[in-house]
């Protein structure tokens, strides 16, 4: 069992909308990446808040999915920083957590909240509703 092979699955297809997944749990990353890939998305991962900030600038994702409990910079702080920066303020954020904290997530700037664990259909429906439809529609 290796961290690396769990993280990125499938061939890279540059035209697809990119989702940045900020998550420490390797199994959540693995399952979510697989389902999102099936749903026509490209997925990149980060495992703490600062790494996520770096990646956002590099990848220009169509959506950020983040857990709340992250080492060093937690999910709520990450939301606030992203929304405060004009360069990233427009990127929708989906908080995906085991912690029932929807109100706090929305107050910190998240666009939607979904509770763990993963269920394929619910996750894809939520992601599709947050990513501008023309992008996802072209590829799925």
């Amino acid at each position: 069992m290796e961290r690396r092979h769990l993280a990125n699955i499938g061939e890279s297809v540059p035209d697809r909308p990119m989702v940045l997944m900020v998550e420490t749990d390797s199994y959540i990353r693995h399952f979510a990446s697989y389902f999102l890939h099936e749903g026509g998305y490209e997925v990149n991962c980060a495992d703490d808040g600062y790494a996520a900030l770096d990646r956002v600038r590099l990848d220009s994702p169509a959506l950020i999915i983040t857990e709340l409990m992250l080492p060093h910079l937690d999910g709520l702080a990450l939301c606030r920083l992203l929304k405060a920066d004009p360069a990233t303020a427009a990127v929708p954020i989906l908080v995906f957590s085991a912690l029932s904290a929807d109100v706090r997530a929305l107050e910190s700037g998240a666009n939607a909240f979904i509770m763990k664990p993963i269920e394929k259909i619910a996750l894809l429906n939520m992601v599709n509703s947050l990513v501008p439809s023309k992008l996802a529609g072209e590829n799925s």
Binding site: M1, D25, M69, P71, A98, L99, S100
Partner: protein, 462 residues
């Protein structure tokens, strides 16, 4: 809280703090053990959220192999002590399971080293610590890791808790038990079709603690603990020793030298229908007439039935309640003796009670498998009542002689009571009810049976 000469760390559970005489020693290493479902994790969580509220140094909670962190959180959110604001700010959860499976048990020390340096935590919880044994290549590897861990911890001001599904057998052989300063065990045992839960302290360095099994249960607010009632250690002064109180029963006081001694315990025995409940209700209601308060505990009659008995004596149950009659109905089927006695005791303290009736102590005996435990509890309760100057009646129902042939007499209850009063049911040929005082400590009393009648206003001794 008792001053032990060194600082304690509260468990966040006032009853558990009483058992530990304040809490766990500061900067100690402690083991919380018990089978699955006994409440170990809930106990630990309750403690850390208590400390998180104090806006102090942070707390570190490491989950090893038993379950992913998200699962712990999922269930934790249902407890009332849970505060989402504290997660990530004062309580730091870390799931180190993956690293442990990849790198071996040494990964625990790596994580601890980093956390001690970055967070300087006030409390560290490792859940489950026992699981690490399964990953260790050999017992010596486990010992080495533990040795490294303890020497690392000794340099920091932090209190550590190892949680695990340890058995008593494990506690004899596993090295963490040897180094632990405190060991607390959660247990569950089946009594017939009922389950009973207990907690006990197996070790607490540098302090005495309340020994033995303490009843507990798990509620949405955490682990609810009922410390075992022990006899009062320092008897206070018996200034009321010679004071006598009005029993409330017409004509009875003359038989016992002018009334019952204040602080005394009276065993009131008789068969069903002999008038015990009438007698004890009259006793309880007398306190109200004198402006005091009474507690009436019973296990057979629910509030409706008891209200009926009160009205039969010509009183209004609601008015009695308002005037200071405290009624406690407990089903002994559902509750452990521990919690019943503790509840009685709490009521006595909170409500400033002067008279107590327990109707009937036989019920506790009948419903418990552990008679010694019942007797110990009743004995301690009687002692507590005595030092507080609370006068009590405990009724004991003897089985009708028509049915069992001969009455049996409960020696243990009679030994622990100051007075024994027996009510006789009417018998052929003259069908007269009698009351006799078989024992009255410190009193010249009359042993003869005295006839009495039950009238609309209660018992009248002629």
């Amino acid at each position: 809280m008792i001053d032990r000469g060194y600082k304690c760390i509260s468990t966040g559970n006032s009853e558990m703090d009483k058992i530990l005489k304040g809490g766990f020693p500061v900067n100690s290493i402690n083991v919380i053990m018990g089978q699955p479902g006994t409440g170990k994790t809930i106990f630990a969580e309750q403690m850390i959220f208590h400390h998180a509220r104090q806006e102090d140094r942070p707390i570190l909670y490491l989950t090893t192999l038993s379950e992913p962190m998200s699962k712990i959180l999922t269930y934790l959110q249902r407890f009332t002590f849970f505060d989402p604001e504290k997660v990530g700010s004062s309580i730091h959860y870390r799931d180190i399971g993956f690293d442990l499976t990849e790198k071996g048990i040494g990964a625990l020390n790596d994580h601890l080293k980093e956390a001690l340096h970055l967070l300087s935590p006030k409390i560290i919880v490792v859940d489950s610590f026992k699981a690490l044994h399964d990953l260790a290549e050999s017992p010596p590897e486990m010992r080495r890791m533990l040795y490294e861990l303890t020497s690392m911890l000794s340099a920091y001001e932090t209190t550590v808790f190892f949680i695990g599904e340890y058995t008593e057998e494990n506690s004899r052989v596993m090295p963490e038990f040897a180094i632990a300063d405190g060991i607390v065990q959660f247990l569950r045992s089946a009594v017939s079709t009922r389950d009973e839960r207990f907690v006990r302290v197996l070790k607490l360095r540098g302090s005495s603690y309340l020994e033995g099994l303490h009843g507990c249960r798990i509620t949405s607010s955490g682990v609810d603990i009922f410390p075992r009632l022990v006899s009062p250690s320092v008897p206070e002064k018996y200034t009321w020793q010679q004071a006598r109180i009005n029993s409330g029963i017409d004509g009875f006081d003359e038989i016992v030298g002018g009334g019952l001694l204040r602080g005394s315990t009276t065993l009131l025995e008789g068969s069903a229908g002999a008038g015990k409940s009438n007698f004890s209700l009259q006793f309880a209601l007398q306190a109200l007439r004198e402006g005091g308060r009474s507690l009436y505990v019973n296990f057979q009659e629910n509030p409706t039935q008891l209200a009926r008995s009160i009205s039969a004596l010509g009183f209004n149950p609601d008015e009695c309640k308002a005037a200071g009659l405290e009624l406690l109905y407990e089903s002994p089927v559902e509750l452990q003796i521990d919690s019943i006695i503790v509840k009685i005791f709490r009521l006595i303290e909170e409500q400033n009670i002067q008279r107590v009736v327990i109707d009937a102590i036989g019920d506790l005996e009948v419903l418990s498998r552990d008679l010694d435990r019942v007797h110990d509890y009743i004995y301690s309760l009687a002692q507590h009542l005595a030092v507080r100057g609370i006068t009590s009646i405990m009724t004991y129902e003897t089985v009708p002689s028509h049915i069992v042939g001969s009455n049996f007499h409960n020696r243990r209850f009679s030994n622990m009571s100051d007075n024994i009063v027996r009510l006789e049911s009417p018998k052929a040929p003259d069908f007269i009810r009698t009351v006799s005082c078989l024992k009255a400590r410190g009193t010249v009393h009359d042993l003869k049976p005295h006839p009495f009648k039950i009238t609309g206003s209660g018992i009248q001794v002629s």
